[in-house]
């Protein structure tokens, strides 16, 4: 276990670690998989083994094509609630929401759109900067999380987040999902379904969107030039919300 902890970095660190590389290379060889170089990097960097620590070679991101996102659809929102066991208490002001549909309107033209907004998984997350305990942190692969073991519920991060992405749990909770622990007195937000990602699955919202919604959400590794998401953001115009803040969110939008 000690040898493992050595090469794990909590926040994005692009340092080259020969130990880890050679270990991974050995793993790939042992598995006997013959893949093209790019594909090998992709396959490995996804940390497909649940036992391997996540690596900063990956930057998880999402591309949401609003041209395919229907104003009336909220399949992603309900899928998120189901997956993570979010339940309302009839108090919309304070009920937890990890993803929501935000209605925007251009007053001049009257054009309106409803877009799904969740934690944008910034490269420079303000919620991490302000957290007094270090509970709000960014995982090596770019996912911004709350470590509820150290969160004291001060809610500074909620104030700091320009996307209003975080919720505070006000009520005593019961029957949480085993993979999504959450409890009173701590702050929480979209985890990009980190438990799914760690076992090579897509976030629940993305899955629901492609199953029953418009197929507007694309999830993938922004660091891998061969990934579908990287190709799309390279070839088509996409936007980040409040890009002017310089936070470099991992969630991008098309046709906004």
């Amino acid at each position: 276990m000690s040898s493992k902890t050595k090469d794990k970095k909590m926040t994005g660190n692009s340092g080259f670690d020969p130990t880890r590389r050679s270990f991974l290379a050995a793993m790939a060889t042992a598995a006997g998989v013959t893949l093209a170089p790019g594909v090998v990097l992709y396959g490995i960097s996804r940390s497909s083994s649940a036992n391997a620590a996540v690596s900063s070679e990956v930057r998880w991101g999402m591309l949401i094509d609003l041209g395919r996102c229907d104003n009336g659809c909220d399949d992603c929102v309900s899928a998120c609630a189901k997956e993570n066991g979010l339940r309302g208490f009839g108090r919309p002001e304070t009920d937890a929401q990890w993803i929501r549909k935000v209605d925007i309107k251009n007053p001049e033209t009257g054009y309106s759109k409803s877009l799904p907004v969740m934690c944008q998984h910034c490269e420079n997350p303000p919620c991490v900067d302000v957290c007094p305990t270090g509970a709000s942190f960014k995982r090596a692969d770019g996912i911004v999380l709350v470590n509820k073991h150290t969160c004291i519920g001060c809610r500074y991060c909620m104030m700091a987040c320009p996307y209003k992405a975080r919720s505070f749990v006000h009520e005593t909770l019961e029957d949480q999902k085993p993979h999504a622990p959450r409890g009173k007195g701590t702050v929480e937000s979209c985890t990009l379904c980190v438990h799914r990602i760690d076992s090579d699955r897509q976030p629940a919202c993305v899955e629901a969107c492609s199953d029953t919604g418009g197929g507007a959400m694309l999830f993938g590794d922004l660091n891998d030039p061969e990934s579908e998401i990287s190709k799309r953001v390279a070839n088509y115009a996409s936007q980040q919300i409040r890009a002017d803040l310089g936070l470099n969110p991992g969630v991008r939008y098309r046709n906004l």
Partner: protein
């Protein structure tokens, strides 16, 4: 021998009686949960835990703490010391055959923690039972029955 001595001797005899294997056997065979001063620990699934029982009894909290940091911070999701795995194997069936939550005094964790008066807050956030329907087919729930009590001195 004065009264004082007699009292002390009597007390000593009583204490030895309580702590002796004989007393444990009584509690186990007599199915008399209420009569035993020792905790009744429900049996888990399978033959062995991830570590020796003695080791787990003293160190489970350290293992869980270590694993929790690795999982939360680094995404390492080994099954070995995972709380979810603990709860999968140590699920205790309630009267309705569904696994009980920490709110029920027969919950595996409570068997000892109530006895030792150690309160834990793990289950304010964590699920205290396996997700319904998520158990493997071969899972056999075990109720808290005295015959499976393994306490120091009874082995």
């Amino acid at each position: 021998m004065n009264w004082r001595h007699i009292c002390i001797t009597l007390l000593a005899v009583m204490l030895i009686g309580i702590g002796s294997p004989g007393a444990v056997v009584f509690a186990e065979e007599g199915n008399a949960v209420g009569n035993s001063l020792l905790p009744f620990i429900p049996m888990g699934r399978g033959n062995a835990c991830v570590e020796d029982t003695d080791f787990m009894r003293r160190n489970h909290m350290e293992l869980l703490k270590h694993q929790r940091d690795e999982t939360v911070l680094e995404g390492t999701r080994s099954d070995q010391y995972s709380l979810t795995e603990c709860l999968d194997c140590h699920a205790v069936a309630g009267p309705d055959a569904n696994p009980v939550t920490f709110a029920d005094s027969s919950h595996f964790c409570r068997a000892c923690h109530d006895f030792a008066s150690v309160s834990i807050d793990c289950f304010q956030c964590h699920a205290s039972r396996p997700e319904s329907g998520a158990l493997p087919d071969d899972h056999q729930f075990s109720g808290a029955f005295p015959g499976t009590t393994r306490v120091k001195g009874s082995e």
